[in-house]
Subunit: 462 residues, 2 copies
């Protein structure tokens, strides 16, 4: 019985056309990362289960693809958890390793493991697939690429500035304009909470704030009311997050807002420095939006947070984000290592490039010259030349069998071949060859000894 | 409690130095494949379990990494197989997908699934990791790269010839010389068996022959005696596999050997054609050894078989192999599709390159210029220039904090930085900058307005 050839839901095959486009983005990412002094690392596709578990919350843990232990090891299975309906625990008793869920935890593990060999500050980039057992849906996959750039082992606001410049240069190189980076600082929100005497309800407050993209300012206000925050606090929060203006105006507003605030203002000063510096740079592909309401990833980020939106005509969520973190490696016993990282949403950037038709023509490497096949005695005449052309970086094929001319030409056509070389009985007799231009349809005849020169000339011209 | 940061046995982290070397090999493979008209494809890391199971024999099936079903699906577990000690069956009842074991079965699945969109003959290459639950040992990994080039949908001996040329050009481009390709034809062995009246014991005969690398000719003879092959047959087999000489001499020997053989000689003729053609080519990195004893993969290959050995000074097994197959896609209901494929043993080729010191210098992209940090007011002076240099493809870093000069220079040193730029209080006052050559130790002072020009000049010179 034949099996129906299909792939698991949420996974994809990539044709050569897609691969050349994906490689184009990867190459630009790599080149730009390297121009900023980042080094690549790669980590194994699977990590030990205990490296991953507990890093992504309960929901995340469930989305980790676990690999079944080999051979007899499955005997150790915890059947009682199966009876109790604790399928997660049951699964874990069968598994010691699992597919990478992101690139951040492997980075933390890598840095902790190799700390003695690493030069700090450690600037690394990583472009590899990750796997998540998410329910597949349009644009969401179980296997997809992540691209991260991080710096570990130093804390300087110049790094935040350089991260924004890195985004700017990557999107510039990809020719995507109209990118917006929303930026905020955890300390801005901590100071606000402190000023309003709601510090002990910080998580509640910021988790409401984090929903602003979906529910709007009114939704945030309503939610805070439901949660019985004081009207005074809510009014202040509203005026804070609603304030609009240029970066400079917002910094002025903040200064006034916190003028009577006598606690530590290091975070506010840091933010002021970063934004003032960025304001002096000529950013080429993006604009900065100091967004006082941005509250993403606060269980994780400890300083600046960033979120990158695509050009406004593209209706997808963020295409990147990042921030400052301070406790990435403590799980592995390496403490006090500050870091900052940003990620590029590879699959969404691909979608943006495709939607805006930003992939250049000719990034796909195709066969340039096809030699038709009229039988072994003819192929022998030119087979050495096929080989020489390849050494000249010209991509050549020999049609392998003596099919009808029409079929051979149809192959050339479908593969987008530029030139077809015809050497049949007539040509052999006259010591000539025909060069057929597949784009114009022109056919030219030349003496056989000019074969290499004519092909090289034509290919270089086109 | 901190967790010890380690990775699963048989997996590897790659540092930037290793990645640049691995990418160097991959780039040469890709470029050469493309010059022969092969297109890349990529398939998902995991396939449906039933796509993979049954394709690699019982032992292979056990080495497939299976992924545990998510959530409630594990309820369907077959507990009776656990009780019966059938751990493989037990594992399969918990899994619907598994990590790719090789690139061949995914190719067969891909071609069958997308047959209506594919132009045949389909020339594809694929460079991706595969995973095997083999016991890890020196040089054997659970995650490693495979690189395959295949042509499906045509049968012409020119393809065998082109496959050898492809090997030749890849190894030439990698600068590995002294490669040997052993080549044989399944039909040679079938004809031999038929001539000796042992056709019904073909598998027994060839599986003994296949061990010749380990047990030698004497071992083969002994094994055949144990298996009670006739002395006459054994003598003939011995004379056959022991015959040494040039390709041309071997072809002559074969002709004489089979002169009274009246069955189909298509395979022998094909082999003769291929070897005669190859004999006329100037191979640049390899030599051909028509090895009448080569009997690898006969449960799978239906025509020519090839095995590639590294230069003789390197003591590892084969670094590549391939052959003609005819039934690759029949499992998926696509019949009568002949194919030929070769693979490159990526990890072993890496080992050869490393052992013979064949990696060129300077393939590793490093930070070229480091700007020292004497405080924000100094960084502001040149930060825009850092950014301009990167646009000139010069890799630059700013040291992020104002550490002691020694520490900043030590960072430059460890990262292999070529040039360090120093702009401190003295320099600012005089409107100058210092360019320190980290290789020679020279320090030169220039006017600040020459910063870009001098750095670009120096980098382009070195």
């Amino acid at each position: 019985m034949a099996i129906k050839p299909t792939i698991p839901k949420g996974t994809r095959d990539f044709s050569s056309e897609e691969i050349f486009k994906r490689d184009y983005i990867k190459r630009i990412l790599k080149t730009t990362f390297e121009s900023f002094g980042y080094e690549p690392i790669e980590t194994p596709s699977f990590e030990k289960l205990n490296t991953l578990i507990g890093q992504y919350g309960d929901e995340g843990d469930r989305l980790i693809f676990k690999i079944i232990n080999s051979g007899e090891k499955v005997k150790k299975v915890d059947l009682s958890s199966l009876e109790q309906g604790n399928y997660e625990k049951f699964s874990r008793s069968l598994s010691e390793k699992a597919l990478r869920y992101d690139l951040t935890v492997p980075l933390a593990r890598y840095v902790s493991q190799h700390q003695n060999k690493i030069t700090f500050p450690f600037k690394r980039y990583q472009i590899q697939p990750v796997w998540r057992a998410d329910r597949p849906q349009h644009g969401r996959f179980q296997e997809f690429f992540q691209c991260d750039a991080d710096i570990l082992g130093n804390r300087s606001p110049w790094q935040e500035i350089e991260m924004v410049l890195l985004y700017d240069q990557v999107f510039k190189a990809l020719d995507i304009n109209g990118i917006k980076i929303r930026i905020n600082h955890r300390e801005t929100l901590i100071s606000l909470a402190s000023l309003l005497n709601i510090s002990e309800r910080f998580n509640e407050f910021t988790s409401t704030l984090d929903k602003i993209d979906k529910i709007g300012v009114d939704g945030v206000v309503k939610d805070l009311q439901t949660k019985r925050f004081s009207n005074e606090a809510i009014d202040k929060i509203k005026s804070f997050i609603e304030f609009s203006g240029t970066t400079i105006e917002k910094l002025k507003f903040l200064k006034t807002f916190f003028s009577n605030f006598n606690e530590d203002k290091t975070g506010l000063d840091e933010m002021t420095f970063i934004l003032n510096q960025l304001n002096k740079r000529t950013l080429e592909s993006l604009s900065i939006d100091f967004d006082l309401s941005l509250a993403r990833g606060l269980h994780y980020y400890t300083g600046v947070i960033m979120e990158v939106s695509p050009p406004s005509e593209i209706k997808i969520g963020s295409i990147g984000g990042g921030g400052r973190y301070d406790n990435l490696t403590s799980k592995f016993g390496l403490n006090n290592l500050s870091g900052i990282g940003i990620s590029f949403g590879f699959e969404r950037i691909y979608h943006v490039m495709e939607s805006l038709k930003l992939f250049p023509d000719k990034i796909q490497k195709k066969t340039e010259v096809l030699f038709l096949n009229f039988g072994n005695e003819f192929v022998e005449i030119f087979h050495n030349d096929v080989y020489k052309l390849r050494k000249n970086n010209i991509s050549c094929e020999l049609y392998p069998t003596t099919e009808k001319l029409k079929k051979q030409l149809s192959y050339a056509d479908k593969k987008g071949v530029k030139l077809v070389v015809i050497i049949g009985p007539d040509e052999r007799e006259k010591n000539k060859f025909i060069l057929k231009n597949m784009i114009t349809g022109d056919q030219l005849t030349f003496p056989f000894e000019e074969l290499l020169a004519k092909i090289i000339e034509y290919i270089n011209k086109n």
